[in-house]
């Protein structure tokens, strides 16, 4: 099943390459990966989605924990959590389709962030499923480009991943 792992990592050169290298080396797959420094500049927060059964995920978390630069990690899918992903889609939007595309974007609470005579660029946030659904709902419209941030997430309530 799909899992979201959230990792606090020392914000040091080479730390990210160790995480990515571990997945390649041990034949695990990475579906999405997002990483940026946190409010504490010495730490990066990394969110990673992957697929695996309980046993595989246990091995992945143990192996990640063995990396010296991994400070802490949590499998967000173990509990209730909030998950968001950002997507930018550039769509061919000519006269006849412009209204329809705009309506679809509104339904998904997307925002048009760039407009030209022949294109719309739409920004959309949500879960992976919502973004997938939006792509599906675009129907005949010509998608010129898609960029997705990969999922980020936090546990709901009082539970935090911090040092």
């Amino acid at each position: 099943m799909r899992r979201i792992l959230s990792v606090l990592l020392e914000n040091e050169a080479g730390a990210l390459s160790r995480v990515v290298g571990l997945f390649a080396q041990r034949n695990y797959n990475i579906e999405t990966l997002t990483v940026a420094p946190t409010e504490d500049q010495s730490l990066s927060r990394l969110t990673l989605t992957t697929h695996g059964n309980d046993r595989e995920i246990e091995q992945i978390t143990k192996q990640l924990n063995k990396l010296i630069e991994v400070v802490k990690l949590v499998d967000l899918t173990d509990g209730s959590h909030v998950e968001r992903e950002l997507m930018l889609v550039k769509i061919r939007a000519t006269s006849s389709q412009r209204a329809e595309i705009k309506r679809t974007a509104d339904i998904f609470r997307g925002q048009i962030v760039d407009v030209t005579g022949s294109t719309y660029t739409i920004q959309l946030t949500g879960t992976k499923d919502k973004l997938d659904a939006f792509i599906g709902a675009l129907g005949d419209a010509v998608i010129m480009e898609v960029v997705r941030s990969g999922s980020s997430g936090l546990s709901r309530g009082e539970k935090v991943l911090a040092i």
Binding site: A13, G14, G21, E58, K62, K66, I68
Partner: protein, 578 residues
């Protein structure tokens, strides 16, 4: 505060760590460091003939002493040559600190002369690595490297050092830290007491128990505690290839090595057991055979310092994460208190188990079969002769192949750290440099390298280093004129098609070692084996290379039946299986 150059800071840091010897090879990127090394006497440098050998020497030093081995190599090819040795140490959890030179900071990334991304190349085979950015980072990085290499599950640490930060004219404030905090690194120490109690009650109630211990017990200095536990319980014990010597090899409770080439009794006891106490072992594929068929009736207690080793290959019933000494001390206290309560009924059940084991042992699976008129030496006999004529308590290193298995099976080890081989990576070329590292650590001890004519040629250039430092190693070359283990597999699985497993144009080893300034003997018949071997061991202060011509047809048995075999499925002799 003291003002030092980066180069001096490196050497001072090594001194502060109590490093007495390092192994290396100079080159452009480390010239400042070598100059600093030259101007002091505390840290001895051993000049090898190849960087791979330098890492194996440091590895042999570490395995025999328990202290971390230190390597110094230059950038580019110096660093890449060290990679095999680092991977060897990583697979067997050996503490090494490898200092590699790097091109000047401003040249990194420009494909400059002798530049390679050492941190990148070594990343999957190190416990951790550092690329230093400034001279100020030297002391804390070296401190961290030693802490990380030697604690928890040990392993190699690489420190990549750009040349410019070692410049002798740039001075920095130097102070070596006594301790260092690494907030993201907290290896387990004490095991979970509840789990230990649960494990002990299962151990006490077991009817067909086996203790299965590995290299972790030796690395973690838990051998005496393990021996006490095993003797108190009166249970059979088997060791992995890496764990030999953790329990006395000549003791009747010892069943021999287990696994692909383990003894019949050890593998049968494992397969039929109802409780396996695994300590510092990792259920390697060379131990388990086919995992779904592994020990079907056994409950498993697994003690290991590395949580990732637990339930990685085989799911266990009671995991205990902790240092082997801490866990075994707690187990011993509980067992010592409870052993007196064992009932007659329980004692009888255990006696029945031992009767069954003695039946298996009665098969005498290691019996060497020879025709009376056959004068050819069996490879097993070469190992037995080395054992008997060396006094039996020598340090023994091996290379990789048939001779390695024969050494593991036919040379018992009564003490830990005496048997030194590349178990995980299986690195041919390991044996001689590892023996040199041991001999340098223990100048007055007997050191034997059991090798083959294939393996020895992978690092034979180190005979020159042996001359330079006067290392009186005894090299037993089990010469079957073939890559024996490859040939054995080809005999068994490829209908005897020996694709490139013969060594043609072998050198005259005696002439070769004499050219390096050593003594060489060639033994061709069984009648010469004992007297010549005795003569070799009598030359105390010389390196003696004993080229023993052995029966080229001999296979290593027992051997697991694969694929789809369990631990009880073994070839016992040619064409004879369980």
């Amino acid at each position: 505060m003291e003002r030092l150059s980066g180069a001096d800071a490196i050497i001072r840091s090594l001194q502060e760590e109590g490093v007495d010897v390092i192994f290396g090879y100079p080159g452009g990127a480390v010239l400042h460091i070598y100059d600093a090394l030259f101007q002091q006497n505390q840290v001895r440098h051993i000049l090898t003939r190849h960087e791979q050998a330098a890492t194996h020497m440091a590895d042999g030093y570490a395995r025999s002493t328990g202290r971390p081995g230190v390597v110094l190599v230059t950038s580019g090819p110096g660093a890449t040559n060290a990679v095999t040795g680092i991977a060897t140490a990583y697979m067997d959890s050996i503490p090494l600190v490898v200092l590699s030179g790097q091109v000047q900071s401003h040249l990194i990334g420009t494909d400059s002369f002798q530049e390679t991304d050492m941190v990148g190349i070594s990343r999957p085979i190190v416990k951790h690595s550092f690329l230093l950015k400034s001279a100020e980072e030297i002391a804390p990085a070296i401190k961290k490297a030693f802490v990380i290499a030697t604690s928890g599950r040990p392993g190699p640490v690489v420190i990549d050092i750009p040349k410019d930060i070692t410049n002798p004219t740039d001075l920095i404030d130097f102070e070596y830290p006594d301790t260092i905090e690494i907030r993201s690194y907290n290896p387990a120490s004490k095991g979970h007491s509840g789990q230990i109690r649960k494990a002990v009650s299962m151990i006490m109630e077991a009817e067909r128990p086996v203790i299965y211990s590995g290299g972790g017990v030796i690395q973690g200095e838990g051998c005496e505690l393990l021996t006490h536990l095993t003797r108190t319980l009166g249970y059979p014990i088997t060791n992995t290839l890496m764990g030999l010597g953790a329990y006395p090899g000549t003791d009747p409770q010892f069943l021999g090595m287990l696994g692909m080439h383990g003894t019949y009794e050890a593998n049968m006891a494992m397969h039929h057991s109802d409780l396996i106490l695994a300590i510092g072992a990792r259920f390697d594929d060379r131990v388990t055979n086919t995992v779904p068929l592994f020990c079907p009736t056994a409950k498993i207690v697994h003690v290991d310092v590395d949580p990732a080793s637990i339930s990685k290959n085989v799911t266990v019933d009671v995991p205990i994460v902790g240092e082997v000494t801490q866990v075994l001390e707690e187990m011993n206290q509980l067992v010592d208190a409870q052993i007196g309560e064992r009932t007659e009924g329980q004692k009888n059940v255990l006696a029945d188990w031992w009767t069954q084991i003695e039946g298996w042992r009665g098969q005498d699976c290691l019996k060497v079969i020879r025709e009376d008129d056959d004068k050819q030496i069996k490879p097993q006999e070469a190992v037995q002769a080395a054992y008997e004529l060396s006094g039996g308590d020598a340090y023994v290193t091996s290379d990789v192949g048939q001779h390695q298995m024969f050494a593991a099976l036919y040379h018992p080890f009564d003490q830990p750290r005496k048997w030194i081989n590349s178990g995980g990576l299986g690195t041919m070329g390991f044996g001689l440099p590892a023996a040199m590292g041991v001999q340098l650590a223990f100048p007055d001890e007997q050191v034997i390298c059991i090798t083959g004519e294939g393996s020895i040629q992978m690092n034979i250039q180190e005979l020159s280093t042996c001359s330079q430092y006067g290392l009186p190693i005894k090299i037993i070359n089990v010469n079957n004129q073939a890559l024996g283990m490859v040939k054995q597999w080809q005999d068994m699985q490829y209908e005897g098609r020996h694709a490139h497993s013969y060594m043609q144009s072998l050198p005259d080893f005696v002439g070769l070692v004499e050219a390096y300034g050593h003594v060489g003997f060639r033994i061709e018949t069984v009648d010469d084996l004992e007297p010549m071997m005795k003569k070799a061991f009598s030359l105390k202060d010389r390196l003696v290379f004993v080229d023993v011509l052995v029966d080229p047809e001999e296979h290593v048995y027992p051997m697991f039946v694969a694929p789809n075999g369990s631990m009880r499925d073994m070839w016992l002799r040619r064409g004879v299986r369980t």
